[in-house]
């Protein structure tokens, strides 16, 4: 690499044919070409899947898509791209201190982007909008609720009865009381467990016998009975730390939606992280930053613009556009 760069940087007569740009920059452009195809595949798949699905979750109440957060992120990325340009300009002016500062600004904005992104992700994880976890109809939603009740019950059981035994052994132990030389069970928690156990069993039996429906009324509101059950568990201090159940929100085609969302934003975020590593290498140079880094900053700037560009496509596609 150094060899070919030398032949350009110096005033020696050019000895090769080709374009008047350094190899590294040419290579970066070509690499970005492959990257474009990479994201094109994702975007194309997204469009095909979305247009090919009779329903697509688009209500932000269900999907927990934060348009505002995405909008701010768009702005953040564009601003950071601008700072990279300024940094490169400063490099060409040989004002390395200034360049470093702009670069640091870019880095801060990149962190900000990831911060906002993680807030968005957190909201989705919190509501269990995770590929493979989403119930797509009432039946699955109820089954999921039963599972969540039961795993909460097991979690509470594990908290009460120490040891590695399986849940059923522990349940029988709970009935017979602690063995010799073992600490007594917390009576409050035992009472809470019985409450949860009863509630969980009732729910399971009701679901099994199809005596409970998820939605009621003309508006298809969520059955208040289910909500009150959830509320009862959540408001119980003793149960609450062990109780992890989500409001049952069946989402038709929710899994494909969540998959495409996480795939595209996830791979974009990975690219952001790679860009940050490149900037980090520059920032680590500190005062040693000199003109040998001009190409590096230009190339990583190119890469960063590409990352920005991808987001500019992803944002409307994922957050705004309604294909009707």
């Amino acid at each position: 690499m150094s060899h070919s760069e030398n032949s350009h940087g110096s005033s020696a007569p050019p000895l090769k044919m080709g374009l008047a740009i350094p190899d590294s920059k040419l290579c970066m452009w070509l690499f970005l070409g492959t990257e474009i195809m990479f994201f094109t595949a994702f975007i194309g798949s997204y469009i095909v899947l979305r247009l090919g699905s009779p329903g697509w979750p688009s209500d932000p109440k269900d999907t927990h898509i934060l348009v505002l957060a995405g909008g701010i992120n768009t702005f953040v990325l564009i601003l950071s791209s601008y700072l990279v340009v300024l940094s490169h300009e400063a490099m060409i002016e040989k004002n390395f201190r200034k360049a470093w500062n702009f670069m640091a600004g870019t880095m801060v904005l990149a962190f900000l982007f990831l911060g906002i992104k993680s807030v968005e992700y957190y909201g989705k994880f919190d509501h269990d909008i995770v590929p493979g976890h989403i119930a797509e109809n009432d039946e699955q939603a109820l089954a999921k609720l039963v599972r969540e009740f039961d795993s909460s019950r097991v979690a509470l059981l594990n908290a009460i009865v120490p040891g590695d035994d399986d849940a059923n052994k522990k349940a029988s132990k709970l009935a017979t009381g602690p063995g010799e030389g073992e600490a007594a069970f917390d009576p409050g928690m035992v009472a809470a467990y019985q409450k949860l156990d009863t509630s969980s069993g009732e729910l399971r039996d009701a679901v099994r016998a199809e005596k409970i429906s998820l939605h009621v009324g003309v508006d298809h509101e969520i059955n208040p009975e289910i909500l009150s059950r959830l509320e009862a568990m959540r408001s119980d201090e003793q149960i609450e730390p062990y109780f992890h159940a989500h409001d049952p929100h069946p989402m038709v085609y929710g899994n494909v939606f969540a998959s495409t969302y996480f795939l595209m934003t996830g791979f974009h975020a990975i690219h952001v992280v790679v860009g940050m590593i490149l900037f980090g290498i520059v920032l680590l140079q500190g005062s040693k930053l000199d003109e040998t880094w001009i190409d590096f900053i230009e190339n990583s700037g190119l890469y960063w613009h590409f990352v920005d560009l991808v987001w500019i496509f992803l944002f409307p596609l994922l957050y705004i556009v309604d294909f009707g």
Partner: protein, 380 residues
């Protein structure tokens, strides 16, 4: 009827023979000629030799004395040797890679299945037309399973194999089953005194144990083998008897809404307790799928895993009746037989004696057959 005797298995009674496929390839297939003249008693002879070219057969009677076959024109003589050989070839081609050379249900392909291929070696087959107290399947049952497959499992339908080939496969499968049973019986007998643990506990030198074993073998083997083969013969002949086929006393009660409603009550009620396994709406999610149940064949011994087990040690799920897939066949008579004599080897019991009132089983059959459509209309 005709029987292929498994007596030749005695030569491979060591423990490994179950896995050793090559053994089965020798022409040690037992050959037994069987004649039956009309409704009279059938006589059995062993084949001493058979020359396929001249198609000449010489036979010996049960004492090994060369005998003359007394057959009249029109008698039904069936020679199972060649059929077994053909069945073996077909079995190796179509069945072996799942069911294994020895019929242990552990062929090379089987390791990938969620529902394991049948292990014949206990002589038990799930879907039979025979009564609950008849432990073995009839030839017709095996024939039907091979022809139609088992929907919902990897057992495909061999509908288009010619009937003769399917018959040959059925013979060979029966032979494999008998061979497996014979081995089990011999093992059970020998392991009384000569199991690994028993031998390890003995204080005599190895040679003495060996000679004692040889003595015991010489004394008792012949009798035991004869006894075992007679047992086997009886069991398997029993299954082919016409009187052991489940035949409903009355014809099917028309599937009227009333009948279906009666069926639903029985299904969900306490008399038959279908719902305890199959769930109140037949989804196969009854409470016993999550509780700890007795192991099959060992009353009082609870399993340490929740769920229902079959005698092969697999967890079985009660059928989800809403899917409209019936492994043992979807004809009313098939469902009737499932309810009447249960599914052998599984926790599905025989309800023939419980649901003994006129037409009760038919009501349940009607209800079961209506479940897939009931849910379709009531669903979302």
């Amino acid at each position: 009827m005709f029987v292929s005797s498994p007596s030749s298995v005695t030569e491979s009674n060591d423990e490994s023979s179950g896995e050793d496929g090559a053994d089965a390839s020798d022409a040690r297939t037992s050959e037994l000629a069987d004649t039956s003249s009309g409704e009279g008693e059938s006589e059995s002879y062993r084949v001493a030799s058979y020359d396929p070219a001249s198609r000449l057969l010489s036979v010996v009677n049960e004492n090994g004395v060369p005998a003359q076959l007394s057959v009249a024109k029109g008698d039904n003589v069936q020679i199972l040797g060649p059929a077994l050989q053909e069945g073996r070839n077909l079995y190796l081609r179509h069945c072996m890679h799942c069911h294994g050379v020895s019929g242990d249900g552990a062929g090379p392909t089987a390791q990938y299945f969620k529902v394991k291929p049948r292990d014949y070696r206990q002589g038990v087959v799930k879907f039979t037309s025979t009564k609950a107290n008849v432990p073995r399947p009839s030839r017709d049952d095996l024939f039907r399973i091979v022809k139609l497959g088992v929907p919902g499992t990897y057992m495909p339908s061999f509908m288009l194999l010619p009937d003769e080939e399917v018959h040959a496969i059925v013979e060979y499968v029966r032979w494999l089953a008998m061979r497996g049973e014979m081995e089990r019986k011999l093992n059970a007998w020998l392991s009384l005194d000569y199991s690994k643990e028993a031998v390890a506990d003995m204080e005599e030198p190895a040679e003495e144990i060996e000679s004692a074993f040889a003595e015991a073998w010489a004394d008792e083997a012949s009798d035991n083998i004869t006894q075992f083969s007679e047992e086997l013969q009886m069991d398997w002949q029993e299954a082919d008897k016409e009187e052991n086929v489940v035949v409903p006393p009355t014809e099917r009660v028309p599937p009227s809404p009333e009948s279906i409603e009666r069926g639903r009550k029985l299904f969900q009620g306490n008399k038959a307790k279908c719902a305890s396994c199959h769930g109140l709406t037949g989804k196969g999610n009854g409470p016993s799928t999550e509780s700890f149940n007795d192991l099959p064949g060992q009353p009082g011994v609870k399993s340490d895993k929740a769920g229902l087990f079959d005698i092969w040690g697999n967890i079985v799920k009660p059928r989800n009746l809403t899917a409209g897939v019936f492994r043992g066949g979807r004809r009313p008579i098939d469902i009737y037989r499932r309810i009447h004599s249960g599914i052998k080897g599984t926790p599905m019991q025989a309800f023939g004696s419980t649901l003994n009132k006129e037409g009760e089983i038919w009501d349940v059959v009607n209800y079961v057959l209506s479940i897939p459509f009931e849910n379709k209309q009531g669903g979302h």
